[in-house]
């Protein structure tokens, strides 16, 4: 069985700090493999152990994404593909899915594609379903359990207040939830080995595709502006007084803003 896992390197937003004015300090954030994508890797590794599988991790991003790919190999993935090209820059979900989809087509036969449900930097949760559409694959989203059968795959899907068991033919694309498993720690011996392994680097010319569909140019959405939400320390309004007085003020405020 051949499995492709799409992983994204993201800044660790849990390490975000604010300056004294309440603005975000963006520099120097450590980069990590997106947490849901580690669940996707773990799911692939579990299948590899149970049924035998060859796992290829794929990531699009700047050259330093190599670190994330090496970490995935140190966890036990077999091959890594880095999609990097200046022309890929500024891609929104559509262009990202297009690029990953074109590259996956190039990689040849596969049985399953795993992605995370969402990336913690944008929380858009769109790239997985979009790749599925591009490649015309059944989409099995929000997987909390995965069972591979004869040419079919079954998942437990957490769909809001429903839990469903759904089954589709392979190849299929599965988006992985945090509840699916606990990702393993990279193995020491593999950590050393992974630095020897080759990472396949693909640019725009290697994945074919139409120039106008890549990167910023290929992105239907445009960022107009970014601003800090009301978050600054000075912006909390303290409601003073005895418990009774402060509660009364709070209830009034909440009514005013229609929160209750």
């Amino acid at each position: 069985m051949k499995i492709i896992v799409c992983i994204k390197q993201v800044p660790d937003v849990t390490e975000v700090k604010w300056d004294e004015n309440g603005s975000l300090i963006r520099t120097g954030l450590p980069s990590i493999i997106n947490p849901n994508d580690k669940n996707a890797i773990e799911a692939a590794l579990t299948l590899k152990e149970e049924k035998g599988a060859e796992i290829t991790v794929v990531s699009m991003g700047p050259p330093q994404v190599e670190e994330a790919l090496r970490e995935a190999m140190a966890m036990g993935c077999d091959h890594a593909v880095l999609l990097t090209d200046r022309k890929f820059g500024g891609a929104d979900c559509w262009a990202t899915a297009y690029t990953l989809g074109m590259a996956i087509k190039k990689l040849g036969h596969f049985d399953l594609i795993f992605s995370g449900v969402e990336a913690m930097d944008g929380n858009t949760a769109q790239v997985g379903p979009e790749i599925a559409d591009f490649l015309g694959l059944p989409l099995l989203s929000y997987a909390e359990a995965i069972e591979v059968g004869e040419g079919t795959v079954k998942i437990h899907q957490k769909l809001g207040d429903l839990t469903r068991v759904i089954e589709g033919p392979m190849p299929a694309l599965i988006t992985c939830e945090k509840e699916l498993n606990v990702p393993r720690i990279p193995r020491m011996d593999l950590v050393f080995e992974c630095f020897e392994k080759e990472i396949k680097v693909l640019g725009m010319a290697d994945v074919d595709g139409e120039l106008e569909n890549f990167g910023l140019k290929g992105s239907p959405t445009r960022l107009r502006k970014v601003f800090s939400p009301k978050r600054a320390k000075a912006q909390v309004e303290f409601l003073e007084g005895t418990p009774k007085e402060s509660s009364q003020k709070l209830v009034e405020k909440l009514h005013e803003i229609n929160a209750i």
């Binding site: 769109q126 559409d133 059944p138 207040d161 469903r164 239907p220 909390v236």
Partner: protein, 340 residues
Amino acid sequence: MTAIKDLSAYKGVWVFIEQFEGKLTNSTLSLEILGEGRKLADKLGTDLTAVILGENLEKTAGDLIKYGANTVLVADAPVLANYRTELYTDIICQAAKERKPEILLVGASATGRDLAPRISFRLHTGCTADCTELDIDDEKKILVSTRPAFGGNVMATILCPDHRPQMSTVRPGVMMLPTWDEARTGEVIKLEVTAKEEDAKVKILEVKKHEASAQNIQEAVRVVSAGLGACTGNCFDQLKELAKELDAEIGGTRPVFETGLISHDVQIGQTGKTVRPELYMAVGISGTVQHTTGMANSRTVVAINKDPNAEIFKFAHYGIVGDAKAVVPALIAQLKASRN
């Protein structure tokens, strides 16, 4: 992949309505976006269309007109009874290609977040996920979508200038519900459904609905959240009463889960759930980053803590410095009083 389209051919606002067993789902999200869609359509001087797929939808379709839709597009067939990504995508994309809406809104529920990206990819258009604010640019007459980004640390305003329909998914609990008006009239149009069960690649083997509120915390409109500082004496019981009074779900921090007072399903934070309610009331919570990543996208945050320097106040819009054991009962009393 089509090139840039003739944009003037695209007219009207569409809203995707979720159903369960033929009726609107318990969550009011679909109605919220219908209300928001009405507002946008009025701003553009255009029509609002509700799109609903399922089985036995006649009554529900009629209701959507009373809630403000000019037109309801209905795909009614047994094969559509349960949501299925591919079947729903096929039908909505087909209808959108024929009828060319300029805007398509989808709720940012689990179903909506599964469906919307697939539609947007196939129609080669942009979809802005998880919006908390929508508006029309007065000059360009295009959709302006605002969403939290970067773990909720910043807000981003996003446009889709050259592709149609302009798509957004919308968070629950942020838009106003529409008003029901018995006098409204409109048209219900049946979409042809050619798909058969045997064409469906994905089979649904089992559907289980959770009645427990625990499962709903991510879609909750209001959350009362307990920290260790709200767990002494009968404080936690009082919090439950407060939650009831506010019609809120109860959640909490990891240490509170560890004490066994709440289940892991409602632990909020890095190793728990991410919630984005209208109102988040943090009681006795210190506000470490592992917790705040799970709640920083809430619309209004109230913090009650006895320590005026607690980090949580940096995330709060309203703060009360005090002992939870005294403030919570006072708050319950005030809420009761304000109701009379």
